[in-house]
Symmetry: C2
Amino acid sequence: MPDEPAIQIPLPALLRHARHTYGAAMRAALAEGGYDDIPGNGLYVIGALALGEAPLSQIIRELRVSKQAAGQLVDALVLRGYLDRQVDPADRRRLTVTLTERGRAAADIQIAARMAIDAELAAWVGAEKIRHAREVLAALIDIGRSGEPGSD
Amino acid sequence: MPDEPAIQIPLPALLRHARHTYGAAMRAALAEGGYDDIPGNGLYVIGALALGEAPLSQIIRELRVSKQAAGQLVDALVLRGYLDRQVDPADRRRLTVTLTERGRAAADIQIAARMAIDAELAAWVGAEKIRHAREVLAALIDIGRSGEPGSD
DNA sequence: CATGATAGTCAATATAATTGACTATATGGC
DNA sequence: GCCATATAGTCAATTATATTGACTATCATG
């Protein structure tokens, strides 16, 4: 790999590879525990649901995929025992998605793997720079939102 | 009013969404110019080749996909007029991939879109924090490399 | 000049995402 | 209350992308 700091590697490429560090670590930890049947975006969904239940429609928007794709993804995760779906009694169009026990176990492993990376990272560069990085990432996300057709 | 979020959004999620800002902006700019037939990882390949030619094997390693997938991706990009392939005369197993004129034009648009985001970002958070963010991302990438089971 | 490693292809298959057409529920104007 | 419209999600078909396995060609080494 080019260890030349002379030119600046494009930020999108850095983001891509940085994200891979988390993805690979999480997948490895999950596979270790027997959770080796989680499809690509499944990590995102499980990670999001670890913070609490969510309506499918929210998952759709966060993933930025078609609702059909999100539906299929959730189908797969339900089929493999990670998620439950239940109709929201307040609005019976709406599906509320939650983690099963298996899903919770997978989420825990995933979170532990993430926190291990986080800790290693903090030891490497310090908490201050990580805060700055978070700020930069949040700004990027805002920039993306402002330039979107859905922001009206 | 300290607007610190009650919970910290996981870094991988931030990375995902931040990257999307670039991806969406680049795709929009390219589509505007008539370059609307670039497959998913094509942006990465074109962006990488904008810095100079590269052997296919390097693209394979950087993308972290199977060589077949990378081959198909390059196939598609050659077919659509973005890339040229030529056999390396020094090592005739090796394919050197370069941008065509159309590919160069697309790369220029893509880079302009990236730099527009970069500029907006810098105006928003300042150069200092961006340097810190780059440092953090580089550290994450290193962590990923060190935790890898050999280089495939 | 045999052996093994590297670079890439071909064919088949699997996985994932999209589009288009549809059902069911809810909301707001009148 | 009732109709029009919007929202939430499904079903089916297709396209796009990636993977695995088996193979060819070239190169490097002893």
